[in-house]
Symmetry: C2
Subunit: 231 residues, 2 copies
DNA sequence: AAGATACTGTGTAAAATTTACACCATTAAA
DNA sequence: TTTAATGGTGTAAATTTTACACAGTATCTT
C-alpha cells in the first residue's frame, strides 16, 4: 500500500546573497522588487523553485533571471523556515551565497519582470530588506567570514591579477579588522598558492605593486589533503 | 494587486542525524520504516513538516515521534533538494543533527506507527539506507567533525562526569585518528572549561581516573568572544 | 630637476603554540 | 605478592605567531 503525500500548499524558494568587492568595500547584490508581496522594497534576489528543478539548479536560474548574472559557484548555507516568514503562505527558503568579481562590463539586468533593477550595495549600512532577508544576509555574511580561511573565497572576489595590498584589504573588509602588512604577506606567500607575475599594477600615481595570480590547483592540493570540507 | 503563490504539490521534510557515543564508538540513530516508500528499510528518523510549525519545531517533534527522544538541541546543517530524491513526489528535506548521551534508561520507543523501532548503530559499517540518507549522514558527519573544535560537541555526547581518557577517545572516534595523551590533556585543561571533581571513576578493575565536568559557562565566555558562530 | 606624495616591500627577535616522546603510580584481581 | 591494565605527568625542540620601522620607487607638482 502506498501512502500518498499530503497536498499542502507549501512552496520553497531560493534567496541569494551575492558578495562582490569594489573600491575596497564589500558589497552585496540587491534587487528592487516589482511584485507583491513587498513590492517596491529592496530584497535579496530570490524566487520560487520549480517542480522539476533541483534546488542547486534553481539557485542558478533564479539569480540569472533577477540579475542577469550567470555561472557563479553558488553554495547553500542555511534554510529559513519560520511559519510566518512569508505573508502569503507557507514558504521556506534555502539561502545560497556566491562570490563574484564586480566589474563594470557585466551589466546587471533582470531578465524577468519580478525585479525592477539589480544593483550593488555596501554591506555596511544596509537598508531595511523585505521578508527576513536581513537575517539571511547576516547569516550568510557570518558564514563567509568563518570560511575565509578555509575556502578560496578571497580569490573569487578579486580580479584575476591582484596585488597583495588588495588581497589584504579584502581580508580586512571581511573580517572587519586591521592586519599587519608584513605578517599578512609572509603568511599568504608561505602557502605557496600565489603565483607572482612579471607584471605590475598600472594607473597608479605612486610606485606600482607586483601582481599575483591565484593558483587554484596548488590550493586544492594543499587544502583537500587536510580535511575534506564538502557541504 | 497580489500575486498568489503557486499551488504545487511540494512538501518539505526533516531528517535527523542523531549522534551518540557508547562503548568507545560513535553511533547514530536509525529507524526501521513501517510505511511506504521504503517500507521495512533502515533510515534516518525523518518525516514531513506540518503547515503550521517552523522547521526547527518540526525537527523536535519528528524526532520525538519516531524515537521517543526529547529536548535535544537540534542544529540544521544542510538541505537536500534533488528532484527525484523521493519516489512519490517533490520533497526537499532539511537535515538536522543532534548529540546525545546514550544511556540504557532512555528507551527508544517510536510514538507513531511510521517507525517500527529505533536503535543505535555504529557509524562505521552503516547498512544501506532509504532515500539519500547515506549522503545526508555523511554530510552531517563531516559537519560535526569540523565543528568538534569550535563547538561543545564532545560534552553533549559524554556523560555529565567523564574522564579525560573518555574525552580523548571520543575525539579520536570523531576525527578518526590517534591523539597524543599528554598533549591532549595539556590542551584541554589549558582552556579552563573543564572542572576537576573530587570524585573518581568507579567499577573499573584498575586505577580509577579522576572525573571532570564541562563548565558550559566558562566555555561560552571563551568562545563567544572569539568569533560568533551563529548558524 | 628637485621635492613632495603615496604606497611598496622587506627582516628580526620575542612570545606562544605545537609536537614528540617514556615511565612510574595506582587499583583490583588473580 | 604478583600481574594486568590504565592513570597521570614534564621537558626540550620545532614551528608558528606576533610586534614592529624604514628605505625604495613611481608619479605628480612646481
Amino acid at each position: 500500500m502506498e501512502t500518498a503525500l499530503p497536498t499542502f500548499n507549501s512552496v520553497f524558494s531560493i534567496d541569494c546573497v551575492i558578495f562582490g568587492f569594489e573600491a575596497g568595500e564589500l558589497k552585496i547584490l540587491l534587487i528592487e522588487r516589482n511584485q507583491e508581496p513587498f513590492k517596491d522594497w529592496l530584497a535579496l534576489p530570490g524566487y520560487i523553485v520549480e517542480q522539476d528543478e533541483s534546488i542547486d539548479d534553481a539557485a542558478e536560474r533564479i539569480l540569472y533571471e533577477l540579475t542577469g548574472l550567470r555561472d557563479l559557484h553558488m553554495q547553500q548555507f542555511h534554510t529559513f523556515g519560520e511559519v510566518n516568514r512569508h505573508p502569503q503562505g507557507r514558504v521556506i527558503t534555502v539561502a545560497y551565497y556566491a562570490l563574484i568579481r564586480i566589474n563594470g562590463q557585466k551589466e546587471l539586468r533582470p531578465v524577468t519582470q519580478y525585479a525592477r533593477k539589480a544593483f550593488w550595495h555596501p554591506v555596511n549600512e544596509l537598508p531595511k530588506l523585505a521578508f527576513d532577508h536581513t537575517e539571511i544576509f547576516q547569516t550568510g555574511f557570518n558564514k563567509i567570514r568563518r570560511r575565509l580561511n578555509y575556502q578560496p573565497i578571497a580569490f573569487e572576489l578579486l580580479p584575476e591579477k591582484f596585488t597583495l595590498t588588495q588581497l589584504q584589504s579584502l581580508y580586512e573588509a571581511v573580517l572587519n579588522k586591521k592586519l599587519d602588512k608584513r605578517n599578512f604577506r609572509k603568511k599568504m606567500l608561505s602557502y605557496g598558492f600565489l603565483k607572482e607575475l612579471d607584471e605590475k599594477q598600472k594607473g597608479v600615481s605612486y610606485r606600482a605593486a607586483k601582481l599575483y595570480k591565484f593558483d587554484r590547483r596548488k590550493y586544492a592540493k594543499i587544502f583537500n589533503n587536510e580535511l575534506n570540507l564538502d557541504k
